[in-house]
């Protein structure tokens, strides 16, 4: 039986908040990389070139059909082995331990990119073709067309999906604890095991995740109002 609830809580509050910070860092980095991967994936899926289209489709379909936890474990092993092989190729026999942080970000970003591919593909396809043709007629270069027409045109359609994926990502960071990386939930598990106050610390971890998801909900609502400015309200 726990001797004193408040003692354990005070002692562990610092590390747990630290873990929450790490969770946020992982999520933000993975989200940024996932956005890039999603854009690449969507471009591949909409490409006129068939092999590239096939590659994009295979990426998004396979990753989305396999459970996240399974992918994280699989990529965790495969990723560290591949990197080590790569370094062995170039740098002799130096065995490197890639940090848990890099693995966590890489794995989550890879999964996130697959879902993002679908969000962006749908949003890009929803842009009226005439707008793209008009941009071409005005002699826009490809990057200018993307930046001036495609991006502002697709964001209102993509943002609800992007916000959903961010929430899923924040919650998926907890899965990283399974491969033993110290983020919020892993720290909470340690706290629970050492104080034997299981329900308390899991509830605390849950509350912190809830703060993160509810907080980002508010931010995304503002962002959506911003990208929808000038559009008739629905």
């Amino acid at each position: 039986m726990p001797s004193d609830h408040s003692d354990g809580l005070l002692e562990w509050l610092g590390p747990i908040l630290q873990g929450a910070l790490v969770t946020l860092e992982i999520a933000l980095l993975a989200y940024a990389i996932g956005l890039g991967l999603g854009l690449l994936g969507a471009t591949a899926r909409l490409s006129p070139w068939r092999p590239l289209r096939g590659l994009g489709t295979a990426y998004s379909t396979l990753v989305r059909a396999i459970p996240e936890l399974l992918l994280i474990i699989l990529l965790y092993y495969a990723g560290s082995q591949a990197l080590n092989a790569l370094f062995a190729e170039f740098g002799g026999d130096t065995h490197i331990e890639i940090s848990g942080f890099v693995t966590a970000v890489g794995v989550l970003a890879f999964v996130q990119g697959a879902y993002m591919t679908e969000v962006f593909r749908g949003a890009i396809q929803a842009i009226p073709k005439g707008q793209l043709e008009a941009a071409d007629a005005y002699g826009f270069s490809r990057p200018t067309r993307f930046y001036r027409i495609v991006l502002p045109g697709m964001l209102p359609n993509a943002l609800p999906g992007m916000s959903n994926l961010w929430l899923i990502l924040v919650k998926d960071t907890a899965l990283i604890s399974v491969i033993g990386f110290e983020e919020l939930f892993f720290t909470a598990q340690q706290a629970a095991a050492s104080t034997r106050d299981y329900a308390l610390f899991y509830a605390l971890a849950g509350a912190l995740y809830l703060v993160m998801t509810l907080g980002s909900n508010a931010l995304f609502a503002r962002a959506e109002r911003h990208v929808r400015r000038g559009q008739p309200s629905t």
């Binding site: 092993y77 929430l167 939930f185 899991y202 849950g206 809830l210 998801t213």
Partner: protein, 243 residues
């Protein structure tokens, strides 16, 4: 790639148990979760205000926290507090409360209830008021209106989304390997620990999940087309998986 361990009856049995448990967990959570979702949706639409607020709060918490944390909260947190309740250990339901399957099913049911409840609420709201009025005009009681008109119409509207929720449920099952339940991932981990083969068992169950996802989506698509009142042509571009 070395799959020779597959001929070992011990591993065959573990994989089979994991496979059956996975399907059972999906079936139990889907059925109980859907029943819960209907109640949640109806409480939020027609229930007394305090109860509706309670359901809204519960939905927010379930949807805003990781499923893994919920699973540990129920299994490790609540599960460890239960023996302190006097008389519970002697009661008939005690063996059930020792079983990780129970906690998996409980967590997933709650999760399906919260997510699907939101979907159903939206669908129930978009059923035209006139159809319900027609039901009342025919003298159906509120219960019959719900069962004969309102719910079937709402399900018909959100069936593709329900398919997506079902796939999400299937893909959450590996989480229960962390609470010592024998599922496919737990079986693969066992093979990995004993044979030191990392990729083979994981890739095998990844393949099984891929197949299960494809089978489940095709079955649901058949149901979508067979559903009474389904539009004759596919209404819009369908995705293989929820986006």
């Amino acid at each position: 790639m070395d799959f020779s361990w597959l001929s070992d009856p011990f591993y065959q049995k573990a994989l089979w148990t994991g496979f059956v448990n996975t399907l059972w967990l999906v079936a139990v959570s889907a059925v109980c979760g859907f029943a819960l979702a209907v109640s949640f949706a109806m409480i939020r639409l027609r229930g007394p205000r305090p109860l509706a607020m309670l359901v809204t709060g519960l939905t927010t918490v379930v949807r805003g926290t990781p499923l893994l944390v919920q699973l540990f909260f129920f299994y490790d947190g609540v599960g460890r507090l239960l023996p302190e309740i006097p008389g519970l250990q002697e009661s008939v339901i005690w063996p059930l409360l020792r079983d990780p399957f129970f906690y998996g099913a409980l967590t997933f049911t709650l999760s399906v209830g919260a997510y699907t409840g939101e979907v159903l609420r939206g669908a129930l709201l978009s059923v035209p008021e006139g159809e319900l009025a027609a039901g009342r005009a025919f003298g159906l009681n509120p219960w019959q209106i719900l069962y004969r008109l309102w719910l079937p119409r709402a399900i018909q509207m959100c069936l593709p989304t329900l398919t997506g929720e079902l796939i999400l449920l299937l893909k959450s099952v590996p989480l229960v390997s962390t609470i010592a339940m024998m599922d496919l991932l737990k079986a693969a981990n066992m093979v990995r620990d004993e044979t030191f083969l990392v990729y083979e068992p994981l890739l095998l169950i990844a393949g099984i999940y891929l197949a299960l996802t494809l089978v489940l989506t095709s079955v649901m698509r058949l149901i979508e087309h067979r559903f009474p009142g389904a539009r004759p042509v596919a209404p819009k571009r369908r995705r293989l998986l929820p986006g």
